[in-house]
């Protein structure tokens, strides 16, 4: 029994897979790759696979992570090689490494996400206006956003979950890059951050054509940001 941590990207066309679809896609690819999976006991044995964090449908990610329990030890490089050919187009296996026993579950570990969001501008804007909007937004102590919950709409303050925010304009698109909270402490969604910034100066952006990119998932260690794989290497 051993655990393997795999870093992967999720690009076109698989960015449209739901979290459940992604889980199934991995399960089947691991089986095709003949990786010796370890199964749960019980009526309906399932391979033990757990992802760091669910990714919203349509979002491209360059840094996703999954832990897979295997029935015998296997080299990370070998996993990368055999799994890559078994994955559907759009998933790239970046790295894989054995997880020493006693390590925390991925989901409990990851607490930061870095995003880039790109929105088409409906009018030409200068960088200054956009930067003002960001500065204004950051000066506020309360960022109220509406979320659809099971019991209807709830209002939530997300300001404390935003750690870094930068803006720029490229080819008539507004670009925001941010570091936000994720995981068990709570999730901040990049489109929520965009909506707050846009509100400040009534920026003319087309919110129907957003492109969101998750640059990576991280673990805070002191004032350092480590990827879930770097965490293992730092041990």
């Amino acid at each position: 029994m051993a655990r393997i941590r795999i870093a992967f990207s999720k690009e076109d066309p698989v960015r449209w897979l739901s979290h459940l679809d992604t889980q199934k896609a991995f399960e089947r690819a691991l089986r095709r790759a003949q990786i010796p999976l370890s199964y749960s006991e019980g009526f309906n044995p399932h391979p033990k696979i757990s992802f760091a964090s669910a990714l919203a449908v349509g979002v491209v990610s360059l840094g996703e992570y999954v832990d897979v329990e295997v029935s015998q030890e296997i080299e990370g490089a070998e996993v990368v090689k055999s799994l890559q050919t078994a994955m559907p187009e759009g998933f790239r296996i970046i790295e894989a490494t054995l997880v020493p026993s006693g390590q925390k579950a991925l989901m409990a570990l990851v607490n930061r996400a870095q995003y880039r969001i790109k929105a088409p501008l409906l009018k030409v804007l200068d960088e200054k206006t956009v930067q003002d909007a960001v500065v204004n937004a950051l000066s506020l102590t309360n960022w109220q956003v509406e979320r659809e919950g099971k019991k209807g709409t709830v209002i939530k303050d997300i300001r404390s979950g935003v750690y870094e925010l930068k803006s720029s304009i490229i080819e008539n698109h507004l670009l925001l890059e941010m570091l936000v909270q994720t995981g068990s402490e709570g999730n901040v969604r990049p489109e929520e951050v965009l909506s707050i910034v846009v509100q400040q100066e009534s920026l003319p952006v087309n919110v129907d054509r957003l492109r969101i990119l998750r640059l990576g998932l991280f673990v805070t260690k002191g004032d350092q940001l480590l990827t879930p794989i770097e965490v293992l290497k730092a041990l």
């Binding site: 066309p13 449209w16 089947r28 309906n44 559907p88 759009g90 129907d208 957003l210």
Partner: protein
Amino acid sequence: MNQEQISQILEDELLNKVTKPTRYTGGEYNQVKKDWSTVNTTMAFAFPDVYEVGMSHLGLRILYHLINDQENMLMERVFAPWIDMEEELRKREIPLFSLESRRPLKDFDVIGFTLQYEMSYSNILNMLDLADIPLWSYDRTDEHPLIIAGGPCAVNPEPLADFLDLVILGEGEESLPKLLEAIGNFKQAQGWRRDSQRDSRKALLRELAQLPGIYVPSLYQPHYNDSGHFVSIERIDSTVPAQVSKQVVADLDKAYFPTKSMVPFMGVVHDRIMLEVLRGCSRACRFCQAGSIYRPVRERSMETLKKQAEELIQQTGYDEIALTSLSTADYSCVEPLLKDLLQSHEEKRVGVSLPSLRVDAFSVDLAKEVQKVRKTGLTFAPEAGTQRLRDVINKGVTEEDLMETIEKAFQGGWHTIKLYFMMGLPTEEEEDLEGIARLAEQVAYVGSDIFRSKGIRKAVKVTVSVSSFVPKPQTPFQWEPQDRMALLEEKQQFLKKRIRDRRITYNWHDSKVSFIEAVMAKGDRNLGKVLYKAWENGAKFDGWTEHFRFERWQEAFQAEDIDPEYYAYRKIEYDEPLPWEHLNYGVSRSYLVKEHKKAIESELTDDCRHNKCSACGVCSSLGISVDLRGGDHGQNSDRL
């Protein structure tokens, strides 16, 4: 709009807006994306229902890989877009596109619709319209693809005849590659689709009509009497074949079967490996169209199936194999195959499932093999409530069979039993309906008794689903009328009142849907305009309860001054001409008449697999034979 523009809008705007975007993205593992410049003929397989239904269809899987394995042709897929996607496409004037290359359907040489059920016909029209292709075949020119169809409803394609350029009769793996090759050759020789000045479409269709199994409706002229009733259908001249015969695979064991099968991302209806163990069924149930049109029975060998299963597991990563066919318990090697598959793939936790069970103890034994731990429900189809009526339909099941089966199932640990019945069968009396209720109650009592004696505290659950009989072409009941809607509803209510037991859940089908199904199933070419009108009135996804609106059809019949009852409720005389009799499915008219007469006399007909030939005519007229792969078949006859 070209493929790049379509792709751009799809990625930037549409996929974000619609539910289940992977219905439209393509990119599944084992999808085949071929370079258009390397092939002569391009075809889109069009499934007139939503993705998750279409991807569960084995025929699509077989033909997709078969065609893409040929050097000179390619096949891509398209499904009916769901309501939300259709709205977005229409709003932005985006033509319907294929999943693989995202090209508009208009770019293809051939668009092939599969005719799985009558209630999907309106979706065919809707998809053509979304593709910006003229619906009526005579409005199409060389700039448009050929619109073709095949599948079970091709047995009577007449209601669709004016929308289709040609129809493939029988098993597509025989005829489709030859058809596409002929189209490719014609394209190269005659410049079809490249020279917009010429209209060579008619010449092409005349040429294709010479191929075996290819029916070109425009080359056949129906005639009607003064009241507009069908009288005859004749070829327009003597160069056209007088009759078209279905094509079948003679040796199923050697037939193509894909093992690099696609793996959908989203959950589809049948989300598992589909391993086809045999084709055809000769149990000769008299209502069953599949039993007629897929004759004769042909099996695959154990060796072939084991090899295919192995490859499929490796190529797909699925953890379940369904052994599919019309009746898998009838496969002569089913037991050893099951044991072998379970054993060989145990380490990979691959399960096996049997989608169709007979009403007998043997089937429960098989189910025990495959559902060792997780015992979900078992489903059986006695079809009728009394022995007399079961004999009429030639369903070789006795009450003792059923009770023994049920007992075994409850003893084996199952607690949910589903029973399928039909109402409105020929000669049905109140007593037969009463029989349905009585059987269901008996099943529930047997279950409760067994549970009590074993000290099991779980409640017994019996689900009774009663559909309405729809007479179908090429069956012994093709001459029979359907029960009137009001009568069917009365019968449904009778059963609803009659079934009071809280352990029993009773379901029935909308009689309005069954009525339209009956009209279309036995319809003639005159119904094309009704279908068109119904589509204009908004008909689509008619097979989905939430989208079916009877008024759309009623208004269409009225507008076209066509009496639907003539098609559904009329008892047809043996000497009356039938709109589908120029299409030869091998089963002879005299056999069907004989079977119909036997039905009225409650006389049984044996399964020709294990007993004497019932002289249906398939083997002699198509030059093939029953092909079983097990040992001594005589031994099985007591299982009937």
